[in-house]
Amino acid sequence: MLKVKGLSFSYGDFSVENVCFEVKEGEILTLLGPNGSGKTTILKNVYGLLKPKKKCVFIDGRDFHSLSLKERAKLAGYVPQSHYPPFPYTVLDVVVMGLASQLSVFESPKDEHYEKALEKLRLLGMERFKDRPYTQLSGGQLQLILIARALVQEPKVLLLDEPTAHLDFKNQVKILGIIKKLAREERITAILTLHDPNLASIYSDKIALVKEGRIRAVGESSEILREEILEEVYGVPIHILEFNGFRVIMPKTEVV
């Protein structure tokens, strides 16, 4: 479905080199790696917010970056990580912005568009917040609103940059559960970045381990999450335990 073939990009002193991976329809791929390893950079390159050196992203065989921003937005939604709210728009006003790609520049959204936005808020259990200024939401609520905004685009692909950042345990599980459900039921293909190898192992179909701008390993969770690979990527001693068929990744502590 989505194929990345030899993605390279350079910021000058940091570069991403020869990134390759493939995600099938309805699958979740997680980019896992330490801070500053290049996960966000890769995700931005996949969407085309940063320009990779050559064409390298294909959705259903089509060169994704040859599409206009408008066509791209109809095909793929991007949930950004850092977010500085400029004005206190209401939650509904923010979510309806996801429809920009379906309106001409001379059009404003009408009742039917607000209805679509409401539908997505309902799906995420956020309908009662619709009139709240979105600057007055918690981190987790804000994250859900941005996911709702991406979902009104009716995308086939969803790119999410650290959707669990700043969230408590419950909300991490909730958001990842929602993404999993979207993948299973709506056949949405998702690429996300995460920090927690355990959550990655539970929720993703595939994992790509990122280190210093390169993909160190990519594949099914069970092949990738091995002690020696993780130790190399994160640079800390690691234990992997088996529990009810799940792998639990733990740091080897030196506490006495």
Binding site: Y47, L49, A73, P86, F87, Y89, V105, S108
Partner: protein, 348 residues
């Protein structure tokens, strides 16, 4: 209540228009003004009908009032009222647009260098007695200044809020210095007229200025109104690209329109401060940041505010008070009150 206020502000220019038409240094009874306005409309209609049917006059309307009355009302007061209204709209809507696309509460269209460019053009026209008139030069230099500011601010094909403000400061400083130099070299009477021009005034309004300014500003306001929802999206900066908006092209279009309508305003009436900053803020504090409401209300409230301020300027004293001083003095207390009460309505 809010709904009522919304509708009231939307139609407020109609009330402001009549109030301003009734009041002036030359006193005329209200009934006479209404009568004359009615008869004049009939006269115009009959004129249009006659044109359509090739000269056949259906009814002949006479206006039985002294010609002073007619001159004051139709040649002086009416164009002045109309010019004040469209200029108020232009300045207010320009402020709203730029605040959104540069995500900055302190921006108005003067940040683009328009005011200092126009001031230099005016000083040049007055100082060198070019005979061209002040307006064309002020207009040309206003646009030149915008061009310089935006070219300077464009870094790697993008204009960021910070680069724009810095470029604006540079261009403003450049033209201000040149204007000061001209003022320094000028004779006293000329200096006085430059200073007076800089304070802004509608005293020179006539049908000629309206004929030029009206089409530009009217078309600009219509286009901005049609595109207004894009401003919601654009105010998210780079993120707007994620929902499929061509941010750079759209910003360029908005800056172009705003420059044209502000330059057209400034060229005819000098530099009138605060309106572009104040009106959008007031609307935002009362109705929230959604541009679907903000833009139409900025247009109508800008018109009402400016025409009423100008009415005060020309009627509270025996001499005219410069409108720029008045807009500032009128705006500040209200603005201060709203700021204290709502905390700015900018962030949470």
């Amino acid at each position: 209540m809010r709904r009522f206020l919304f509708l009231f502000l939307l139609v407020s220019p109609i009330f402001a228009f009549f109030i301003s038409l009734f009041i002036g240094a030359y006193h005329m009874p209200m009934a006479d003004i209404i009568n004359m306005a009615f008869l004049k409309s009939l006269q115009l209609i009959s004129g249009v009908l006659a044109k359509i049917t090739l000269g056949k006059l259906y009814f002949d309307v006479q206006i039985p009032y002294p010609s002073v009355y007619q001159t004051v009302l139709f040649k002086i007061r009416l164009p002045r009222v109309l010019l004040a209204m469209i200029v108020g709209s232009a300045l207010a809507v320009s402020g709203a647009v730029l605040q959104a696309i540069f995500r900055n509460p302190l921006v108005n269209s003067y940040i683009l260098g328009i005011s200092s460019g126009a001031a230099f053009g005016a000083a040049l026209a007055i100082g060198l007695s070019l005979g061209l008139g002040v307006t064309p030069l002020a207009f040309a230099f206003a646009l030149l200044a915008v061009f310089l500011t935006t070219s300077l601010a464009k870094i790697g094909g993008r204009i960021t809020p910070v680069s724009l403000i810095l470029a604006g400061v540079i261009v403003n400083a450049f033209f201000s210095a040149l204007t000061s130099l001209l003022k320094f070299l000028m004779e006293h009477e000329k200096l006085a007229s430059v200073v007076y021009w800089l304070m802004g005034s509608f005293a020179n309004a006539d049908w000629h200025s309206l004929k030029v300014a009206f089409p530009i500003i009217f078309a600009g306001c219509i286009i901005i109104s049609l595109m207004r929802w894009q401003l919601n999206v654009l105010s998210f900066g780079e993120e707007a690209k994620l929902v499929g908006v061509e941010t750079e092209k759209l910003k360029f279009a908005f800056i172009l329109i705003v420059s044209l309508i502000t330059a057209a305003s400034v060229a005819f009436c000098g530099i009138i401060g605060w309106v572009g900053l104040m009106i959008p803020h007031m609307v935002r504090m009362a109705f929230g940041p959604d541009h679907k409401k903000l833009i139409p209300l900025s247009i109508t409230l800008g018109a009402s505010f400016m025409v009423l301020a100008d009415t005060l300027a020309r009627s509270i004293a025996t001499y005219e008070i410069p409108i720029g001083i008045l807009t500032t003095l009128l705006g500040i207390p209200f603005f201060a009150y709203l700021l204290r009460k709502t905390g700015g309505g900018w962030h949470a």
